[in-house]
């Protein structure tokens, strides 16, 4: 029996908005007449959020819950001088080892898959307490040790100059030693965990990936930005999240879109005027900047986040990265995760509920099913029985 339970995001959602085309060149899109009805649920959510916002929620708490080893690695937002001081402390330690004629070795929190644990109370993945050492006198580790020290020094210089560089920049600073960008990129996270700061504290940013459009205004590095007036494509989410301030918005919700195509459709249709909202996409798997930006928006505006992702395991996986964090960046999950995103759809169970025709459904590929089965084993999926149900529909037959 070949039932088709996957469907691409329906771009048709906003099709109706085109009916309000006016004669002027700039199309004015008015609020949808049914907005109040449609947004009723959404407003309820918002009210709950705002009323409970005063209480310190478990998830934001830094108190380690019972049953979780106290050795877990969690990094903090640090100021540049603190990061510099941390690096210098490491360098001093290394210098002392070197001068005593024993070479040197560094202790680095392990970011291996076996050292990742999901903390239910926090609803996110954190890094366990395992550490690995990197010794210069060990032939297998010496290269990595040299690279680590070099990255440490380069970032020290970057921080002293108070500038930001991209990962690519960092790689090009010493191509001869790094050879492959993956080498310098990987070491970057090691440096962050060693110092105990977030990766953005190192002033190393990834190039733009995420986009935002809709009813939000903020000041970026003293320039006022209005995301309703960013043209059709919207604004690129800047990697320098710490340069954003004064966020204001009259949006009722944030719409998180997986596919850029769906985002473009809604941006062009100015969907955010019909139903006041902010539309964000990271074009698939989210990067750090988008995740931090989303977290920032939600915390400051206190409006619900709705996820519009594909009805397949990848869609769910992307949603889970926004919510519980990725394994690679688990040491910094506290500043990257946005809990409580509502899965808007389309859900596998909707396919039959709304009797979607077969022509709109795609078969699950083998790879999809494999990913789905792996997801079923993950704690951060298992905590949500509704999701489990949907996922099981996806992978079954």
């Amino acid at each position: 029996m070949s039932s088709r339970k996957r469907q691409t995001t329906p771009a048709a959602t906003s099709q109706e908005s085109t009916t309000t085309a006016s004669s002027s060149k700039r199309r004015v899109v008015a609020i949808a007449p049914d907005a109040d009805a449609v947004l009723r649920e959404c407003r309820k959510l918002r009210d709950v959020m705002r009323s409970s916002s005063n209480e310190t929620s478990d998830k934001a708490s830094r108190v380690i819950p019972e049953g979780v080893p106290s050795s877990i690695v969690e990094v903090d937002e640090l100021k540049a001088p603190e990061v510099l001081e941390g690096m210098e402390s490491i360098a001093l330690d290394i210098a002392q080892q070197v001068l005593s004629g024993k070479g040197f070795s560094m202790e680095i929190p392990s970011r291996a898959a076996t050292n990742q644990l999901y903390v239910k109370e926090w609803d996110r993945i954190v890094l366990g307490g395992k550490r690995s050492s990197r010794s210069f006198l060990n032939v297998k580790e010496s290269r990595k040790a040299a690279i680590t020290l070099r990255v440490l020094q380069l970032i020290h210089a970057v921080l002293m100059k108070r500038i930001h560089i991209t990962k690519r920049d960092l790689f090009y600073t010493d191509v001869k030693l790094f050879v492959d960008q993956a080498e310098s990129d990987g070491v970057l996270d090691d440096v962050a965990t060693m110092v105990g700061c977030t990766r953005s504290n190192l002033n190393v940013v990834a190039s733009d990936k995420g986009l935002v459009v809709g009813r939000v205004q903020f000041v970026e590095d003293d320039d006022p930005i209005d995301c309703t007036r960013m043209g059709v494509g919207g604004k690129a989410i800047p990697p320098y999240i710490d340069k954003i301030e004064n966020i204001t918005s009259d949006a009722e919700f944030i719409l998180l879109v997986e596919k850029e195509a769906a985002y473009m459709r809604m941006a062009e249709d100015r969907f955010y005027h019909r139903y006041p909202c902010i539309i964000i996409t990271a074009k698939g798997q989210p990067d750090i900047a988008t995740r931090m930006f989303l977290k920032r928006l939600k915390e400051e505006l206190k409006i619900p986040v709705l996820g519009l992702v594909d009805s397949d395991p990848y869609g769910l996986k992307i949603l889970s990265v926004y919510m519980s964090g990725s394994k690679n960046m688990s040491y910094d999950s506290s500043s990257l995760t946005t809990p409580d995103i509502k899965w808007l759809g389309l859900r596998p169970s909707d396919l039959d509920r709304y009797d979607l025709p077969d022509q709109c459904r795609l078969d699950m590929t083998e790879n999809d099913i494999k990913t789905g089965k792996e997801l079923l084993k993950e704690d951060f999926i298992q905590k949500n029985p509704e999701w489990m149900k949907e996922l099981e529909i996806m992978v079954s037959d």
Partner: protein, 680 residues
């Protein structure tokens, strides 16, 4: 009375057909074309010479001299007068290249050369021509009176009983004689001095010039004389003139000599090629003797019961002196005791133990053969009659010719295939200047190289598809792997008419080859692992040192940065507003940092100091296992010859505590004949 009945028809057959048969079907014996005929002629003569040396236990010294002649030169040498043409105008006869029936097939082209411009000369010279082949050895020579018979008659040698031999058909040099007769019409010239052992100098020398009468299968003696050996001539010198083609088979001939040097390291081999008209193409090849260890000669053994057929049994009956059937079976066949013979006879109808074997009818023989093939409890034929090269020699041979980086040898235990014992020796080499990347299989059967049809051969198949090279740390695509497989047997199960390969359907042989190669690989693996470790240790300091500049520069850079920051008053600024818990954060120990900054300012701490300290650390921390590895690497391999077939308890000396089993020297490597092996 059965004797006359049997022998008379076979007599007629032998007399009539062999020489003619092989002259007509020469491709079977390796004379497919001119190039291969040259190759096979050389090969047959060389192998004859090797046999002549080894049978007298003389370390062989063999030289091959090949001289190339154009037809004009050939005519001069052969004493044919350059006959002026009667019809000088009849050019079209040659231009059309119609075959003139009386002349050799190469003539049209060669005739052109004599007439036409020199531009064609090179082309024709590189093609078919005449060759004088002279092969000289230091072997036992031939007895004066036996010479014509030994060489001039095809299939004259008797091969009853089984023995490991080099030849494929029992033709030896005779086929070369037929080819010489066929292609050039020139007789063979033999000079030989007979001796019984390697030490005495023969007193007389024989010269014999022989032609062969193909239809009668008889030698025509043109000259046959004996004279006092004043010049101390030793061995045999064979000289023949044949048509051939050097260009197309040059590489094969060279390859043959090269591989022969591998499998015969105790021989001195020399090949000279001389081209009269184009001396720049001359070639000389020499392989010095590398080993003094000569394998013992192969012994002739009785037929194993599972290998016989009707003809063999009939031949045995003709030859036997046994008066009754029990005696016949137990003396003429291997692994059959009188008790076993009685049990066998008990299985046959109309036959009793006291019956004269000559009274057996054809039907009896057929049933006997069927019975022999069915019986499973015969002791397997043993390998002691075989004459393998030995691992020591194989190792030396390969070492000498290919000069590989690593080499491992192995000998599998003897086994039997279709009633014939066989023994597989193998070697696997890695590296070597002349070797190609990937697997090169070199095959030997009864200690002669097999050069053709390697694709279907059991050794090639096993090496290419049955060995998991990667599990032995060998990269079968990029490493230069040499696989040498030497199989000896009383009967090599060749496939195909040309007898150039052994099929891989001989399961026992295939498995033995596989075991031998695997054993080599296993040895190599150990050494490869050790070698890698040694190399790593050597490279370790180099690899570490490579990163010293990066480390020193980076470390110094951070420390300098710290100093600068301190100078700018930045280090204890008032920007501490982060939410981080102070305890978790890495803090700078003020005392240590002050000390460091002081050192930096005074120049006591600098990049060069870091570099020095790191260099010192690398020197101080060499792993200690290095020495062991070096010792292991310097060790020379020791070759012990395994002794099989020791399950004969006949002479055991029994004691309460032990059993002595005296063993004989099976191979000459074992020096003492009475070295006892303790069992129990």
């Amino acid at each position: 009375m059965p004797k006359s009945k049997d022998s008379s028809p076979s007599e007629v057959q032998i007399q009539k057909s062999p020489a003619e048969f092989f002259a007509e079907h020469q491709a079977i014996a390796g004379f497919d074309n001119l190039g291969k005929s040259l190759y096979t002629s050389i090969r047959e003569l060389v192998e004859n010479s090797l046999d002549a040396c080894e049978s007298a236990n003389i370390l062989p010294e063999i030289s091959v001299h090949v001289t190339e002649y154009t037809q004009k030169e050939f005519n001069k040498v052969a004493g044919l007068a350059e006959s002026p043409r009667k019809n000088a105008n009849d050019q079209e006869l040659f231009q059309k290249k119609t075959k003139t029936p009386k002349k050799p097939p190469t003539e049209p082209q060669l005739t052109q050369e004599t007439n036409e411009s020199s531009t064609k000369k090179r082309k024709t010279a590189s093609q078919d021509a005449y060759f004088r082949i002279v092969v000289q050895d230091n072997g036992c020579g031939m007895e004066h009176n036996a010479i014509p018979h030994l060489l001039g008659k095809v299939l004259s040698g008797s091969k009853y009983g089984v023995r490991q031999t080099r030849g494929k058909f029992g033709l030896g040099a005779k086929m070369a004689l037929i080819w010489s007769k066929k292609s050039s019409g020139q007789p063979v010239r033999i000079q030989t001095a007979h001796r019984r052992s390697g030490t005495d100098i023969p007193t007389h020398c024989s010269v014999c010039v022989l032609d062969i009468d193909i239809s009668k299968n008889e030698p025509i003696i043109m000259e046959h004389r004996k004279y006092a050996n004043k010049e101390n001539f030793i061995g045999t010198r064979m000289e023949l003139l044949i048509a051939g083609n050097w260009t197309t088979y040059r590489s094969r001939i060279v390859q043959y000599i090269q591989q022969l040097a591998i499998i015969t390291p105790y021989a001195y081999l020399q090949l000279d090629y001389e081209n009269i008209s184009e001396p720049q193409r001359n070639l000389q090849l020499q392989y010095q003797r590398r080993s003094e260890q000569m394998p013992p000669p192969a012994a002739t053994v009785k037929h194993h019961p599972s290998s016989v057929n009707n003809i063999i049994v009939q031949q045995l009956i003709q030859m036997t002196r046994a008066k009754n059937l029990v005696k016949f079976l137990s003396t003429e066949l291997a692994s059959v005791s009188p008790a076993m013979a009685k049990r066998l006879i008990g299985e046959l109808n109309e036959v009793d133990e006291e019956m004269d074997p000559r009274e057996l009818t054809d039907a009896h023989i057929t049933r006997l053969v069927q019975l022999l093939k069915r019986v499973e409890i015969f002791k397997a034929p043993d390998g002691s009659c075989l004459s393998p090269l030995g691992e020591y020699n194989l190792n030396l041979g390969i070492q000498f010719v290919q000069k590989p980086d690593l080499i491992a040898t192995a000998r599998d235990k003897p086994a039997a295939f279709e009633g014939h014992p066989f023994l597989v020796e193998a070697a696997v080499s890695l590296g070597g200047k002349t070797m190609k990347e990937g697997i090169t299989v070199v095959r030997f059967a009864n200690r002669i190289p097999l050069l053709f049809e390697s694709g279907a051969d059991v050794s090639t198949r096993v090496a290419n598809s049955k060995i998991k090279w990667s599990s032995y740390k060998i990269d079968f695509k990029r490493d230069k792997i040499g696989v040498y497989v030497s199989i000896v047997s009383t009967k090599i199960p060749f496939k195909g008419t040309s007898k150039e390969y052994i099929g891989d359907d001989a399961t026992e042989i295939q498995q033995s080859v596989k075991r031998a190669i695997q054993s080599c690989c296993q040895q190599l693996k150990v050494r490869l692992v050790k070698r890698t470790a040694l190399k790593d240790a050597k490279e370790r300091s180099n690899r570490l040192r490579k990163y010293i500049p990066d480390v020193s520069r980076s470390l110094y850079g951070i420390l300098e940065g710290m100093r600068k920051r301190r100078e700018e008053g930045d280090i204890h600024g008032d920007e501490y507003t982060s939410t981080a818990s102070p305890s978790k954060r890495l803090r700078l120990d003020p005392q240590r940092s002050n000390q460091m900054i002081h050192k930096l300012k005074s120049g006591e701490m600098n990049e060069a100091l870091i570099t020095r300290a790191l260099n010192q650390a690398i020197r101080d921390h060499q792993p200690q296992q290095d020495e062991q590895i070096i010792v292991a690497e310097k060790a020379t391999p020791l070759f012990l010859v395994p002794l099989y077939n020791l399950d004969d308890p006949q002479y055991d000396v029994l004691d309460v505590l032990f059993t002595f089993r005296p063993i004989q020297a099976i191979l000459n490597v074992v020096s003492s004949t009475s070295s006892p092996e303790t069992t129990h």
